[in-house]
Amino acid sequence: MAGKSEPLADLSVAYTMDKVPAADWLVAAPVVWCILLGAILLMLRKRTDIQPLVAIPALGILVLMTFALLAHVIQNGTVTMTMGRWLPPFGISFTVDLLGAFFAATSALVALGAGIYGRSDVDDTGRRYGFYPFLLLIMAGILGAFMTGDIFNLYVWFEVLLISSFGLLVLGSERKQLDGAVKYAFLNLVATTLFLVATGYLYGLFGTLNMADITVKASELRGTAPLMTLVTLYLLAFAMKAAAFPVNFWLPASYHTPRLVVSALFAGLLTKVGIYALLRILGMLFPFEREELSFLIAIAAALTMILGVVGALAQNDIRRSLGFLVISGIGVMMAGLALGSPAGLSGAIFYAAHSMVVMTALYFATGIGARLGGSFELTSAGGLYARNAFLAAMTLILFLSVAGLPPFSGLWPKIMLVKASLDIGAWWLAGAILVTGLLTTITVGRIWVLAYWRPAPGEGPATMVPASLSAGATIALAGLVAVTIAAGVWPEPVMALAQDAARGLIDPSAYVLSVFPVEASQ
């Protein structure tokens, strides 16, 4: 460590010498913020009373940051910051385009909901096991995955979110939770290993991990390199993460065991990270290979949505039923990926954002309902409408939204996807989406009739006592419901955003230009 105040060589060969505008810091800020706050909360692990007071405002600031980033990206286009001043492709770039910024903002909103809901749902034991630190760290992983412009770095963020999710799954270390967590951990590790194998293979072929660099080089290598093998490996790895048929079995095996707020967070966000990776890697990096695989993806998509909703229809436990509905929604998004047209991709993006909000809110509603009615089982639940009409109304809105009925946010992406499939003559894919919608309506209708409308077993309507909800849970639920209503009755901005994001995937020149400003202009 002897001091040498003079640099040895000309730094401009390896370093970017430009000053970073303050607004570009928004690219790194959300992830850094999550890690810093996660660390602080971990130090406060024993102070269970202070934790939510720190975590909830922190998540609020995170929402502000991600929305500021979204506004920045809408105004100025894709933003890149390459870590440690190294010039790309050697430094790790964080490149945020519309897709990344849109997903980041939506997921931050969902996390804020989970933080508020967790205040009443997670008891002191769960907090001592680290609910809030893990919540912040899993958000660091999710946001990092949405923002990074480097494939290996994407792998690292997957690991960060996976390890935090293990922690969240076993809060309290109950027997049933450990059982679910082992299945979840093992199958996810298999998927992550496949991802790593594929990435090693990709590095061998390309000699670069920077996504913008790969996008440029893929067209040169297309004739000679075995890109189809590579892309098929990625498809398998991410389809497993996203819980697409036939590699979806880990999700129903584990999502009903953790604390409800954890299930809600996972259902909302984790599978969508898989969808995001599919959109990014298959949609942007390897569009030709995606085109070749599109029939396979379409079949997987149709089977995922139909079998998912049939699974949901067969369940007695409401949480398990919702887990299958998550899978069914993944099928709808995969259909958009299979189509690959601007309309298809934008439908998938819109649907993913809708699903983040609505699935999380549905789990919240179910949790509140179970606390009022005392059960997740359809056979013994009942009378929730009589106990609390507000909750029943909120749940009904969410049910209609998840089934894709107007005037809520599920309708528009489904219309976009059905129209996109009919445009290319894939009537069977359009049919599958519509049949899924019908079956979903039946599934959620059954839950609503049995758990909400029907009087509780063994109780007459006269003996029902109205029950009030805790403030935190109500705010979290009502906030997310408000989002789905707003996106349903005023869908133009979201639709325009999704369409622009899809255009950015199909024509990645802006993305490349943002990472390599000099080369592209030469």
Partner: protein, 139 residues
């Protein structure tokens, strides 16, 4: 494992290993070493002390909970990158200052802060696991 020989040698061994771990940490910038390997050495030092003298003295000796140490390391490592805001360079850029201490120039950098953070994360996380396992052993 509580033999007289081991028990009398363990405190010296532990202090020597912790000292060596700091040496490895500081050496790491230009030569083999660094925060990760240094942290592993320090964690094994604490584990040896725990095996010889029991877990409770170790917990007393490090004062803070191992997880809190790891968390502080994570905080430090992330903050090391945030320093670049003030220099107007991207996150995690290496920043150097060269103060004169007793006439000798000492190179200090944000990289060192990051490395110390990594050291603490490794010490905290590994010794947290090791101490928990040693505690279970006695049950």
């Amino acid at each position: 494992m509580r033999t007289v020989i081991f028990r009398s040698i363990a405190p010296y061994l532990t202090s020597l290993m912790v000292l060596f771990s700091v040496f490895v940490l500081l050496r790491g910038h230009n030569e083999p070493g660094g925060g990760f390997i240094g942290g592993l050495i320090a964690a094994s030092a604490l584990a040896i002390y725990g095996i010889a003298c029991g877990v409770a003295p170790v917990r007393r000796a490090i004062y803070f909970h191992p997880m809190a140490i790891a968390a502080f390391g994570l905080f430090m490592a992330a903050m090391a990158g945030v320093l670049s805001v003030f220099a107007g360079v991207p996150y995690m850029s290496g920043l150097w200052i060269y103060p004169q201490i007793f006439g000798a120039e000492v190179a200090l950098s944000s990289v060192l802060v990051f490395d110390v953070g990594v050291y603490l994360v490794v010490v905290g996380a590994i010794s947290s696991i090791a101490l928990a396992l040693e505690e279970r052993d006695r049950d």
